[in-house]
């Protein structure tokens, strides 16, 4: 059903050979999704918006999964807002990348919507990845850690975007704020005295002015990366190395092994990965 091979071919192939229809289909689908969400994107509706029959789409796109892949990569190619701050340094660059990512999700909220299709990276998505790699690489980390850092930040952006968009959607749906909505869920909060910490934190005002999950999380994540960077540059001659799985600093064993793991669990994981 889902054919990654065909998807990559479409994503990377010479797009406008005949200059015509594939792009119009993708664009129409994006407009539909922007207006009504991913759920509204059906082959029927896209075709009808273009004034064609449903099956005509299949002359240009193998199926819906590939269409969604193309939609994703198409919007990934949009230029980030030029006005934003572009300070130098790996942290500022990574931060800007993350912020551009969130802006992309804001422009196209359906990106955060679940779709059964597996994601195949297209040229525009890879270009974004490249940009993030460049930023992370300037931190001076070893290559595998550069990749892991970008994966981490990228995953965080998606997760935070989902949270932010979810609450935004909840507010818009009924016209009431998130706070009021939860306030009305008596049926839920009736039971909350079973949870002492939760209700204590609620009483103490932990929910009154919630921190922005994106801004807060981003700073924590980048702080974590920064700790890793500092840890690595601190002292090159020292007899310590990094766990090859999770990156924790570990003192080299007396035996002088070339690579160490911070725990049995991590060692096992490394072996399991290699066995393939």
């Amino acid at each position: 059903m889902v054919d990654p091979e065909r998807s990559t071919e479409l994503l990377w192939g010479a797009r406008s050979r005949r200059g015509l229809s594939l792009e119009r289909i993708v664009r129409a689908a994006i407009e539909l999704a922007d207006a009504e969400g991913l759920a509204a994107v059906s082959m029927r509706r896209v075709a009808e918006r273009l004034g064609f029959t449903t099956m005509s789409l299949y002359r240009h796109v193998p199926g819906k999964a590939e269409l969604v892949d193309l939609m994703r990569d198409e919007v990934a190619g949009e230029e980030p807002a030029a006005g934003a701050d572009r300070r130098p340094g790996w942290r500022a660059e990574l931060e800007a990348w993350a912020r551009d990512g969130l802006a992309l999700y804001r422009r196209h909220p359906w990106l955060a919507e679940p779709s059964g299709t597996r994601r195949v990276p297209g040229p525009n998505a890879v270009a974004g990845f490249e940009r993030a790699l460049g930023a992370a690489a300037r931190a001076g980390l070893p290559p595998a850690e550069v990749v892991a850092v970008v994966t981490l930040v990228g995953g965080f952006v998606e997760s935070a975007a989902r949270q932010v968009l979810e609450t935004a959607r909840a507010e818009r749906r009924t016209g009431v704020s998130e706070e009021e909505w939860w306030g009305a869920r008596d049926s839920l909060f009736q039971h909350l005295d079973r949870y002492p910490t939760l209700s204590r934190i609620y009483r103490e005002g932990g929910y009154d002015t919630p921190l922005d999950p994106f801004e807060f999380g981003l700073q924590r994540v980048l702080d974590g990366v920064e700790a890793l960077v500092r840890d690595g540059t601190r002292d090159e001659t020292r007899d310590e190395t990094r766990c090859a799985v999770c990156g924790k600093t570990v003192e080299a064993a007396a035996t002088g092994r070339p690579r160490d793991y911070c725990s049995r669990a991590c060692r096992q994981r490394a072996y399991r990965t290699r066995k393939s």
Copy 2:
């Protein structure tokens, strides 16, 4: 279509009033999802597995969305593996919580699968949340930050679980390892010289033995939280406070305002949130 009110009522209500069917339905649906994925869970298939007609389910469950809510909360109530390490201290507890979360995703991979339904928290999910709040609260952070930390870690676990399960699924599907799969995508990698950093990192072996995204990311995230904790306890008498949006440390302005923001962007965001 999706009715949160009804969902909460079902999730929190006295479950086995008549002792029988709702639980059997949920359990059958979970078995189906465990075996064949969320996509295989249709009202037909669930009913047929129980030896009833499709419509009989609607006597016990208002619709599919609510069924999925119930499935999620049901598995959220499973006991975490008892053998795991249970060291004290907020960091170890939060780490254990995250690891239990990942284990849950491993037992029920469909949790990470996208489903159009919005998630309504049930009692078991809230119990997990309570546990994480307790751990984070022991770090001595102000309440709003405790909530934000748990949100961050929870979001990370979901994101990392998705990544881990995705690669695991990719390996199983064709029987080849992730590495070989990507190696076979010539049509993709042909174009990769357009991306200098990416190909340099690839050449330098950044992809040869990738770090475990869960283990690596978890340590970074917790390092970030730890930096926040240390920052807060370091010096209470100092004339500094935290940005009310993103948690960055900021020096109090000369004017002695009660609450400060680290940047114009964060101040704007705070106002926008309050306007509701």
